[in-house]
Assembly symmetry: C2
Homo-oligomer: 192 residues x 2
DNA sequence: TGAGAATTGTCGTTTATCCAACACATTGGA
DNA sequence: TCCAATGTGTTGGATAAACGACAATTCTCA
């Protein structure tokens, strides 16, 4: 399952850094967090930080990806199909993620965050599409994943803007018929 | 205050090992804890353990010393004199330490533990005696510290055996007049 | 009792982390 | 404006930790 086993020190240190960053981002805004702050909190040398991450934006990227992945796996969709319920639980996970972020004061970095989340979604969708379609359609699947990721993410932004009172499940349900029949018909046309 | 600053990695790893040992000793008896268990819990390499400690008994020794010291410092006696109240609070600390140990199932190692605790006490008493007496009396002070450490420790054993209901402060208070007048008169004779 | 398994200490090599120092922004007062 | 302070990213040399392997106990249980 896991690839070549990595040095335990690496895992330990990465976790230290990431946890410290998450901890700090609960206290200050992102723009006020320095590398020094992080390494001090993590009790590691500053040079070690640069051994693991390009810079603080690289860290942000990887932390967000990881937190998002945990959120997604927490809502156990695993190796599921790209079904209606799977899509709904992914959407729910994203909205939860958004809410947890808004408590963490990453104001001013919405664009960066949006990009990271969308990229993760694209990867996930692509992987799921691959499982239930022919490999020859690779290009189509990639593009479909892109469209789906933008679409779903956009929906989550819309949800956050207007209707945080509406449960995310209901919210996404409204669009579901269109999304699914599109996916289904594509699937049927290709004769999977 | 602190000596030459030690490599942060050393502090980190020592703490990892000690914490893991304390954690484990809450689950198993000491005799059932292996070095492998500890390093697995601490997520460090087994060889690293031997870089820091002679063997598992060395670890036990150092952990106990540390826990005891924390208990003692917690009851803040600091650079105090060897006064009645100081002695009482030290005694109280020891009884608390004993109780915390009995929860941790170190059955069969009472002798080892006793030796370690007594040695720590001796160090502490000697340091305090040094502060309030002439340096020429070094040999006397050393022996006095030995006697005091055995005596106080023995009292704590007695307390645990009979009268866990009696507050330790009251218990030791009964012997206090004799102890103190002894110390005082010695102090006077030497004309501090 | 004896054979297989587990634990203990140790060693040499490789790798991650520490440290001090560096040049180069960026910032915020005087 | 200038300059002191602070943060960034990089380097080279030193050191702690990881790894795998080893012989030598010690255990376990058939």
């Amino acid at each position: 399952m896991t690839q070549t086993k990595t040095d335990p020190r690496i895992l330990r240190t990465r976790k230290l850094i990431m946890d410290s960053f998450i901890e700090l981002s609960g206290k200050k805004e992102f723009k006020d967090i320095t590398v020094k702050d992080i390494t001090a909190e993590a009790m590691i040398n500053r040079a070690t930080f640069y051994y693991h991450f390009e810079d603080i934006y690289d860290l942000l990227e990887k932390v967000l990806s990881e937190v998002l992945l945990i959120n997604l796996n927490g809502n156990a969709f695993e190796d599921g199909e790209l079904s209606e319920s799977t899509l709904a639980s992914i959407f729910k996970a994203i909205t939860e993620f958004q809410l947890s972020l808004s408590n963490r004061c990453h104001r001013g970095y919405e664009d960066t965050i949006a990009r990271i989340v969308r990229e993760q979604l694209e990867i996930i969708f692509y992987r799921m599409l691959l499982k239930q379609n022919r490999l020859e359609e690779d290009e189509s699947l990639k593009i479909t994943a892109v469209i789906l990721s933008w679409g779903i993410y956009g929906a989550s932004v819309e949800w956050r803007r207007n209707s945080t009172i509406t449960p995310p499940e209901e919210f996404i349900k409204k669009a579901m018929p269109y999304i699914m029949s599109g996916i289904k018909s594509a699937s049927e046309n290709k004769g999977n």
